[in-house]
């Protein structure tokens, strides 16, 4: 009797052992199957030249440039799209093991962060020479591809351009209370605040932020939502990049009641920032990476970004001699602040200020 019970108990134990085993094996084999499926996919064909790009710019905007490069050179381009800042953080986490050759960022600040971490390598002279020194790193490790201007968007039913103040300080006047929209979490806005700190000093920047906050600005998640909000009259004016207006005009029609204003005084509010690229220290085919950067600065690609195509991009080409879109105020007619974009890399200082003034949580 007792031996029978023992036998049953051990059978039970044995069986339970198998049960656990099977569960484990099932889970493991499904995982392995997935791995096998993808490693089969990931195995490269006999090593053709290829390039891996982390793009903080969306596929809708820059996808065609990659295709053109692939067609022109036969080099396969693998692109990982993501947000500029999340990709920068990813590159920092990846370190020397990063699979990326090139990082294409929405703004100079994110490139500055990688440059500061020593992750970008020096670019050859011939590349740097293509672009005005205003639009590249003085450490020679990244270069601007296209430019964008900071502007004030204003509702044309409520305001005329003449009603808008010459400089950004005018908006601290109490008459703008509740009429301004801004996007403090947006990279372009933060670059503008960094420029303000660089140009006018920490104390003045703080004073300006406090002044605007006293006017109870409405906070938006992005430039585009400010443009739409101004068009709808939620706010009268807002701090944005120049090109969102043209996209809104396209989606909402010419009657969309908002226009751009380039602050006349040429202060930080009229900053020209760039989207740019850098080559990573982890890159194993640097020559291909440089070739890609040269391609982006070629006349074909530059005029492509300037809007010479069906879905106009309305960006500013940075290589001299490439025509600007007729709807845009040309770069040389905008009074811009005199600033080294590399100085915009002190994002942390800006964030600290934005947190201290309570603009950011």
């Amino acid at each position: 009797m007792s031996s029978m019970r023992k036998g049953r108990a051990s059978a039970r134990k044995n069986g339970l052992f198998r049960l656990g085993m099977v569960l484990l094996v099932t889970a493991a084999s499904i995982l392995l199957l997935g791995l096998a499926a993808c490693s089969a996919q990931a195995t490269p064909r006999p090593q053709p030249l290829s390039l891996t790009v982390y793009s903080g710019r969306g596929e809708e905007l820059v996808g065609p440039a990659f295709q053109q490069f692939q067609q022109a050179t036969g080099i396969e381009v693998k692109v990982r799209y993501g947000s500029t800042s999340e990709l920068a953080t990813t590159l920092l986490e990846e370190g020397k093991n990063s699979p990326a050759d090139v990082y294409w960022a929405q703004d100079a600040g994110a490139l500055g962060a990688l440059s500061k971490a020593g992750r970008l390598i020096e670019l050859p002279e011939d590349i740097l020479g293509l672009v005005d020194s205003k639009f590249r790193s003085h450490r020679a490790d990244w270069v601007g591809i296209t430019g964008r201007a900071r502007v004030m968007i204003y509702n044309t039913q409520k305001l005329k351009e003449a009603d808008l103040p010459d400089d950004i300080w005018g908006f601290t006047d109490a008459k703008w209370k509740g009429r301004i929209g801004w996007a403090p979490t947006n990279g372009s806005f933060q670059a503008f605040v960094t420029a303000l700190r660089v140009l006018e000093g920490e104390a003045r920047a703080r004073q300006w932020l406090n002044g605007i906050q006293a006017n109870q600005p409405k906070t938006y998640p992005s430039n585009y939502s400010i443009v739409i909000a101004v068009g709808r009259g939620e706010v009268d004016t807002g701090f944005v990049n120049h090109y969102y207006l043209f996209r809104a005009l396209k989606e909402e029609g010419e009657a969309f009641p908002a226009r751009n204003y380039y602050p006349r005084a040429g202060d930080a509010g009229a900053l020209i920032n760039v989207a740019g690229v850098g080559v990573l220290d982890s890159s194993k085919n640097r020559e291909v990476a440089f070739r890609f950067v040269r391609f982006l600065l070629s006349e074909v690609v530059q005029s492509f970004f300037a809007g010479d195509r069906p879905d106009d991009a309305f960006e500013y080409p940075l290589v001299p001699g490439v025509a600007t879109h007729p709807l845009l105020t040309p770069l040389d007619q905008i009074k811009t602040p005199n600033i080294d974009l590399a100085d915009l890399s002190d994002l942390e200082g800006t964030l600290k200020l934005l947190r201290e003034t309570g603009v950011l949580p």
Partner: protein, 541 residues
């Protein structure tokens, strides 16, 4: 409850109870469950490593009064959304399982679909439809409506997240209603308790684990949501964490994430507190499908209720998307169907659903059948990934894979692994409530008749919890369809899904182009849902 208890009370302490005769769980079950739970250490370890790398500024950040305000706002949103989700999901689940409402299965599919709408799309839709000078106001303008109540802030975030998350509760409760022994209600009625009393004293108490499991998912989802709160400008913890990442301040982000994890722990403790000591399985007799309750004259209010929920949570987003699409086509946008991305979405979501269910099974089985402190801890720990913002989990896996498992980095395998870490509780919750409703004596009877435990599992337990496995798989499937941060960072380079396509267009403010993949996402998911409902129906026969 009293009836339920007395009916099954004689089983207490026998066989699978905590008595001396209780079998100890086999080492391998422990091992499997332990391995699954250990994956949750990855995000935790990453957060600790990064937080330690932060300077004193982390304390400045955490100790600001503003942090307390964010904490308060987050808790308010979590509590409100969870309560509203339960209030919506309970009647919907009952109507689509137990009533003779016309088009029962269609309603079941339609009311589940809002789950696949990515929250950043939901946020844009709510702003476009209900925001100042939005579509609704334009519609009402001829009637002289100048402005609508403010949508930004709490109301908008609450509305958006509730409409996107109530299906979590609906799924778990539907499963529980399927498995409920009709004999319980019949006994109550035969003892002279009215229909209403039966519902509140018998049915509802038996649904408690399912409501708790679903409510927990809704609460933790609210905790990690970023899209809706950022678009509707309601500052929660997750928003604050994303803002740190916006500026590559990964140490500060990790520090805040640890705080968020602590908050999640608090929520988990609250949920444990709601668990009673009751038994939820049937006493005996062969299982029968739930009885159908004729609605009679309540049919019209019931239809109106289902219609209203579907109109707000599904028809509204679809019509805004359709409006964007039509406007885009009118403006000359090319109409592109992204079948490749759709296939990728279905493929990874299907795979993620299967692997996650397989991974959730040992943990949940251990926690339900071998109740103890350690097994409970293992199960609870799997909720961490679901409570954290996706970007934190994704970066943790970037960090570990790139340094310690380089060949796996940016492969489908790692992506699926990430989905498992993120969505394990979505499967576990359903499986848990299903296991609780199975009388262990059935398993024990099979075993005493000589069946090997494995055969017991495959022949008795799994068929009985099939609806739980299905519901869990479906939840993971639908949630994976819209997953973004991990997909962007961890998928093989160049791998596109519908969610990343939508994001790609929306982030560059091309709304018209986002509409096609978004509509395709809903379509593909409804196919998945139809299969699920069909399976549920097979079980009914």
């Amino acid at each position: 409850m009293a009836i339920a208890r007395s009916k099954v009370g004689f089983l207490k302490g026998k066989l699978w109870g905590r008595g001396a005769s209780a079998p100890r769980p086999p080492a391998l079950l422990w091992l499997a469950a332990g391995a699954v739970a250990a994956t949750m250490l990855l995000p935790l370890a990453y957060m600790v490593v990064r937080t330690l790398g932060a300077g004193s500024e982390i304390w400045d950040l955490i100790l600001r009064p503003r942090t307390a305000a964010i904490l308060g706002r987050t808790i308010l949103l979590v509590v409100a959304v969870t309560a509203a989700c339960i209030a919506l999901a309970l009647p919907l689940a009952w109507l689509t399982v137990r009533s003779d409402i016309p088009g029962r299965r269609l309603w079941a599919i339609l009311t589940a679909l809002p789950l696949v709408i990515p929250s950043f799309v939901g946020g844009y839709v709510v702003v476009a439809a209900l925001g100042p000078r939005g579509l609704l106001q334009q519609l009402l303008a001829p009637l002289g409506v100048e402005r609508l109540p403010e949508i930004y802030g709490f109301p908008g975030a609450f509305l958006t997240i509730t409409l996107l998350t109530y299906p979590y509760v609906m799924f778990t409760v539907r499963g529980a209603l399927w498995r409920l022994d009709p004999a319980l209600e019949e006994t109550a009625r035969s003892l002279g308790i009215g229909a209403r009393g039966t519902f509140f004293r018998v049915t509802l108490p038996h649904l408690r684990p399912a409501i708790a499991a679903g409510g927990l998912l809704a609460a933790l989802y609210t905790l990690h949501d970023f899209g809706a709160v950022s678009l509707l400008r309601y500052e929660t913890f997750t928003w604050a964490i994303y803002i740190q990442y916006e500026t590559a301040a990964r140490s500060l982000a990790a520090g805040l994430s640890l705080l968020l994890a602590a908050l999640a722990l608090l929520i988990l403790l609250v949920e444990v507190g709601t668990r009673g000591r009751g038994r939820y399985y049937r006493g005996g007799g062969s299982p029968r499908p739930p009885s159908i309750v004729p609605l009679g004259r309540w049919r019209w209010p019931a239809l109106a209720f289902c219609g209203l929920v579907v109109a707000l949570a599904l028809a509204l987003p679809l019509s805004v998307l359709g409006y964007w699409l039509a406007r885009g086509i009118a403006a000359g946008e090319p109409f592109r169907l992204m079948w490749g991305a759709a296939v990728n979405s279905l493929y990874v979501s299907g795979l993620a659903a299967m692997v996650t269910v397989a991974a959730a099974l040992p943990v949940t089985f251990l926690a339900v059948r071998f109740l103890g402190r350690v097994s409970a801890l293992l199960e609870r720990s799997t909720y961490l990934g679901f409570a954290l913002p996706g970007i934190v989990v994704a970066l943790a896996l970037v960090f570990f894979a790139v340094n310690y498992a380089r060949p796996l980095y940016q492969t489908l395998g790692l992506l699926i692994f990430a989905y498992v870490v993120l969505f394990l509780p979505a499967a576990g919750g359903s499986i848990r409530s299903a296991l609780l409703q199975i009388n262990p004596s059935l398993e024990e009877a099979a075993r005493s008749l000589g069946r090997r435990p494995l055969r017991v599992l495959t022949g008795v337990t799994l068929p009985l919890v099939r609806s739980g496995l299905l519901a869990g798989g479906a939840l993971v499937f639908l949630t994976t369809m819209k997953e973004l941060p991990a997909t962007l960072l961890l998928s093989p380079t160049g791998f596109k899904t519908l969610a990343t396509s939508i994001w790609g267009s929306v982030s560059e403010a091309f709304f018209a182009r986002a509409a096609t993949p978004a509509l395709l996402l809903v379509l593909a998911s409804s196919l998945g849902m139809a299969i699920f409902i069909f399976q549920e129906r097979r079980q009914e026969r």
